[in-house]
Symmetry: C2
Subunit: 361 residues, 2 copies
Amino acid sequence: MPIYTTPILNINLKKLIENYRLLQKLSGPAIAAAVVKDDAYGLGATAVTETLYKEGCRHFFVAHGSEGAIIRKVAPEATIFALQGIGEDSLSYFKEAHLTPVICSKDMLSFWKSHKIEGIRPAIQVETGLNRLGFSVDDLKTLSDVDLSEFSYVLSHLSCADEQAHFMNARQLNNFRKIKQTFFKDTPATLSASDGVFLGHDFCFNLTRLGAAMYGINTAPYRENEMHNILELKAPVLQVKPLAKGEFVGYSATFRAPTDMKIAIISIGYGDGLPRSLSNRGKVIFYENGKPCFCTILGRVSMDNVICDVTPLKELKTGDWGYLINDDYTVDDIARDAGTIAYELISNLGHNPRFIKNYQK
Amino acid sequence: MPIYTTPILNINLKKLIENYRLLQKLSGPAIAAAVVKDDAYGLGATAVTETLYKEGCRHFFVAHGSEGAIIRKVAPEATIFALQGIGEDSLSYFKEAHLTPVICSKDMLSFWKSHKIEGIRPAIQVETGLNRLGFSVDDLKTLSDVDLSEFSYVLSHLSCADEQAHFMNARQLNNFRKIKQTFFKDTPATLSASDGVFLGHDFCFNLTRLGAAMYGINTAPYRENEMHNILELKAPVLQVKPLAKGEFVGYSATFRAPTDMKIAIISIGYGDGLPRSLSNRGKVIFYENGKPCFCTILGRVSMDNVICDVTPLKELKTGDWGYLINDDYTVDDIARDAGTIAYELISNLGHNPRFIKNYQK
C-alpha cells in the first residue's frame, strides 16, 4: 500500500491562458494587462508572468517594487506598474528593474519629483469613490506646478463592480470621466479590474487589469462563472479508522460522534493555508467508482491535518487522495464554505511553502 | 517627508529564548523539545532552530520530512521528529537528513518495515482521545509480530489542554498511562505540547513539545500570559486624507461615514496574510506623544491595503507607521478580533514573501 504525506497543488497554465484570452475579448480594444501582485495571488508570479508574456501580454501590475523586480526577469520588454507606488524602501527596485510607479498621493509625487528615473513615466491614481489610495479632485486642483500630461496612465479602481446593478458603478464611472475630461484629456486611462470588464466596454477605457477572473475566480457572481477553474488541491489520506459513538474529534472536542462512524485523517491543515474556518463545515471530496463523495470535515481544522467523515465510503484507504479544490468544488465553493472570498483563500494557500506545486503547461 | 511602502515584521529571538527557558522550567525534568513545523509557525524555521540549538535544544519536531531536511542544516546533532510520518514522497528527506518519523498507523508501520533507515528508531503515535493520527489499543493488540521496544518514543497529543478543567485532560492522561503501562513500559513518553505543560508535571513525562507558547501565544488562556510577545508587525501610512460624511469606504461599500472623518491608508492587506475578517473591526495602532491610539479598520481589508479611522490623530502623516501587532496588541489580541486563533494568524502572516523580516538577536 502506497503512503504519501505531502499535499499537492496543481496549477493549470493552459486554462489560465484560455481565461486570459476570454477576458481579453471582453476588454474589447483595451489593452489586456495582467495583475500578478501578491505572487500572482499566491500561484507563482514568475510562472504566470512567463506564461502570459509568451502569450503576448506586455503590461503587468504588481503591488510592490520588490514584486516587480522578480517578474522583470521573465518579462524583459513589458511595462510593469507597481500599485503601491514608490518609496525610499523600494526605490532601488524601480531603478534596477525599470518599474513604473502608480503615484497615489501628493506626498508620493514630491518624492517622485526628487527621485525621477530616466525613461519612466509614472501612472497616477485618482479617487472616484473607493476611498482608498488616490488623488482627490481637490488634490488635483492644487497641482499647479505639475504637468499632468507627464503621466503615462490615469488609474482608478471600482469598489462594487462584482454587483452589476450597484449604484457605485455608475457613480465611479461618472467621476472618473469627469476627472479625465478635466485633468487628463489625452492621457490613457484604466478603471477596471476583472470584475469591471464584465460591466461592459464603457468601463474598459484604454487598459483593463486582469487578475482574479484569470485565476478562475467568479468576479461576476450574478452570472454563472465563464472562467475555467485552474486549480486542483489534493492531500493524501494518512489513516482511515472507526470512530465509536460518543467519541470526540479534534481540538476543544467540538465534534461528538452521534453514531458509529468511519473517519479519515488527511495530511493538510491551516499551516498549509487551508482556512481554519472550515472547521465542522468544510468538505473533502473523494472519488469512488468515478463518483464524487463530499465528506464533511469533523471538528477543528488543525495545523497539519483535517479529519473527515468517510462513513459512506467502502474502499477508502491510506494513500488515497482527498480533494480540497477541483472542478467539482472550485475556489469560490471552498471560499464560500470558509466564510471568505476566493482571493484571500488562494493567496494563503499559494504562499505555503510545504506543497508540491505542479504547473501544467 | 519620507515615503515607505513595505510592511515590516520584527521577530525578537532574545525573547523567544526567554520563553523557551520558562517553558523548559515548567517542563521539570522532561526534555524541552522545540516544535518548528510549518516553518516555525511561519516565523522562519531556520532562524528559530539555529537560535534554540545554540541554547542547547537537541530535539525538534517538524510536520513534514521536507521541513526536517531544512532545519538539519542548522541542527547537525539534533534528533528531528517528523509528525506526519514517512511516505514514498518524503523517504529521501528522511534518509539524507537522518530524520525520525513518528509512525501513526499500521499501514505506515508496514511501509517503515520495508524502508528502514540505519540508525533511526522511529517514534510511535497512539490515540488517546483526539481522534486524529495514531494507533488505537486495538491496533496495538494486533501488532504481534512487532517488537514495540524498538520505538524511541511513544507519543500522543491532548485535545483540550488549553482549558485547565476540561474532562478530556484527565481522560487522555489516563488513557496514555494505560497504553504506556500495557505496551510501552520502558519506552520514553511524550504527551504535551505547550498547553499541556501548564497542566503540571504529570503531563510532561519524558519530553515536552514546545511550540505556540514559545512564539508568545497564550496557550493557557485561563491565566494571564506569562510569555513574552516576540512579534512586531508594522506597515507604513501611504496617505492621510479627509472622508466626507456620507462617503463609502472600500469594497462593497460596507462602511459609510456617519460624519466628516480623517482616514489613513496603510500598506498591508490580506495578501500579506492579514485576515480579511478584520474588516470593519480590526485595529491599527498609532502612537502620538508616546500614547497608543487604537484606530478601527474601516470597510473591507483589501489585498494590499487597509483603511482606518484616524480622526483623533492630529499629526499623523505619510511615512508614519501603523502597528498591527506589538506589546500593546499581541498576536492573541489580533487573532481574537479576527475570529481565529493566533496559531493560524502568525502562520499566514509569516508565510508572506513581501514583508521585510528582521530578526532581533
